[in-house]
Amino acid sequence: MLEVSNLTASYGGASILNGISLEVRNDQVVALLGRNGAGKSTTMKSIMGLVRQKSGSVKYDGVEVMGRESYLICRTGLGYVPEDRRVFTDLTVEENLEVGRRDARDDAPVWTIERLYELFPNLKERRRNLGKQLSGGEQQMLTIARTLMGNPKTILLDEPSEGIAPVIVEQMARVIAQLKSEGLSILLSEQNLHFARLVCDRACIIEKGQVRYDGTFADLDANPDISSQYLAV
C-alpha cells in the first residue's frame, strides 16, 4: 500500500505541492485528476524521488521511502511511467525492455518479455526496431512494458492517454484492466475523465497542490459542483 501524507514540493522557489495526502490500496486503481499545473506530475515525480526540494512522508508498505534515491524507491516495488514517454530512442525495443528488467519478487506478478509481447502484440513485431522508429502509441506501450519488466507491485502512470489516438486509448484501457486483474495497484494521472472513469476505482482531485476530493466516481457524479469547480467539465 502506498501512503502519501503532507507531501510538499517546489521547483526553483515556486511551490507546486502544498501538502498532498492520498493512498493507493493494494489491487486498487486510483485516478489522480486535476487541471494542468495542479501538481499531478509533480506528485508522481516526488513519490519517485525525482524532485529534489520536497518534504512530507511517502510510505510504501509501511516503509518510509521519502528522501531515498529513485533507484532504491523503484526497488521497493514502485514502477513509474513518465508522461512524456522517455523511451530510449537509440535503443531497440528489446534493449529498452532490458533496461527495465529486474529480478522477480514474490509479492508481485512476474513479467517476461514473452508475456509482455502477449499484452502488447505490436511490440513483438517491432522488437528489433529502434525506439525512435515507433509511433507515439507504440512508444507509450513500450514505456509501460519497460516499467513492467521491473516486476512492480504498484505503478504510477502519468497521463497515458495524452496525445494518443482514441482507438489506442481504448486498447490502453483494456491493458490497465488486465494489469489490475493480475493484482497490480495503479495510480493514474489523467486529463481525460472518460478514460479515467473506464478504468479507475476511485478519484482523487488535486488543485493548487492540495487534494480537494477523494472518493468514488459515483459520489463525484452526485456532486456536480465539485467536478465543475476543480475540473470544470
Binding site: G37, S135, G137, I164, H194, F195
Partner: protein
C-alpha cells in the same frame, strides 16, 4: 476565395511514405481540424505548410502565392502565424516583452542597437494582451506562468503581425478539459472577429467536434475522409482506424454551427 490551396502534397522519409498526395482547400474564416492516428502524417503535413519541411512533390498556395521552398520566417512575414504543441516562449522575458518582440520583428527593428526594447510598441502590445485578457499579467516573468496562460500568450504572439492564417499544432495538448474549451472559445471568437482562417491538429475529439467547421482525417499519410463533425463521426473507416468505439470522448453528436 480560398485562403490556402494544398495540392498533391507528398513526402517520404527513407523509403517510408509519410504523406502521399494530400490535397485540400481552406476558405476565409474557416476552422479546419486535421486529425488521425499517431504517425499518420499530421505533423509532417503541418511542417510542410509552415516551411520546416520541404515536400517531395505538391504545392501550397497562400492567397495565390506558392509557399513551397519559402523559409519559415518568410512564411510568417507573408501572414501565417503559428502556435506550438509544446509552448515556445522567451522564458527570460516578461509577458509584455514576449509580445513586444513579435512587434519589433514585425516592424523589422531587430537590428536596432541603441533604443530601449522595453519602451517599444507598448500600447499595441498591451492591446493584444487585452484581447486574450492577460493585461494584468503584462509584467510577470514568463517562467512563472501557468501552462494555460502560456498557451494564451502564444496566441497573442501569433496575432501580433495580423496574420491571415493561423496554424495551431495540438493547441490544447496538456490542458485540462475546462481550459481546452476556454482556449478554443477564445480562439474562435478572435478568428470570427478578424476573419482569420485556422488549421489545427488535435487529439481531443471533444475540442475537434465542438470547434471545427470541417475535419480532414489522415491515415498512413493519405487523406481518408473529409467533412463535418457528424459526417466524420459516422464514417466507419475513420471509426476503425482512429475514433474507436467512442468510449473515451463525449459522443453526444453536438457540433459547432459553422
Amino acid at each position: 476565395m480560398n485562403v490556402l490551396e494544398v495540392r498533391g502534397l507528398s513526402k517520404s522519409f527513407g523509403g517510408i511514405q509519410a504523406v502521399s498526395d494530400v490535397s485540400f482547400d481552406l476558405g476565409e474564416g474557416e476552422f479546419l481540424a486535421l486529425i488521425g492516428p499517431n504517425g499518420a502524417g499530421k505533423t509532417t503535413c503541418f511542417n510542410m505548410l509552415n516551411g520546416y519541411l520541404k515536400p517531395d512533390r505538391g504545392s501550397v498556395k497562400l492567397g495565390g502565392r506558392e509557399l513551397i521552398g519559402v523559409k519559415p520566417r518568410r512564411i510568417w512575414r507573408m501572414g501565417v502565424g503559428r502556435t506550438f504543441q509544446i509552448t515556445e516562449t522567451f522564458r527570460s522575458m516578461t509577458v509584455l516583452e514576449n509580445v513586444q518582440m513579435a512587434l519589433i520583428s514585425h516592424h523589422r527593428e531587430t537590428g536596432n542597437l541603441f533604443s530601449r526594447a522595453t519602451r517599444m510598441h507598448v500600447d499595441k502590445a498591451m492591446s493584444l494582451l487585452e484581447t486574450i485578457s492577460m493585461a494584468d499579467y503584462a509584467n510577470r516573468a514568463c517562467s512563472e506562468l501557468a501552462y494555460g496562460d502560456l498557451k494564451r500568450l502564444e496566441l497573442a504572439v501569433a496575432l501580433a503581425h495580423e496574420p491571415k492564417l493561423l496554424l495551431m499544432d495540438e493547441p490544447t495538448a496538456g490542458m485540462a478539459p475546462s481550459e481546452r474549451i476556454a482556449l478554443m472559445a477564445l480562439t474562435a471568437e478572435i478568428v470570427a472577429r478578424e476573419r482569420l482562417s485556422v488549421i489545427f491538429t488535435e487529439h481531443d475529439m471533444d475540442v475537434v467536434f465542438a470547434h471545427s467547421h470541417r475535419i480532414i482525417v489522415l491515415n498512413r499519410g493519405e487523406l481518408i475522409a473529409e467533412g463535418t463533425g457528424d459526417e466524420i463521426r459516422a464514417n466507419p473507416h475513420v471509426q476503425e482506424v482512429y475514433l474507436g468505439g467512442g468510449t473515451v470522448f463525449e459522443n453526444t453528436g453536438a457540433t459547432a454551427d459553422a
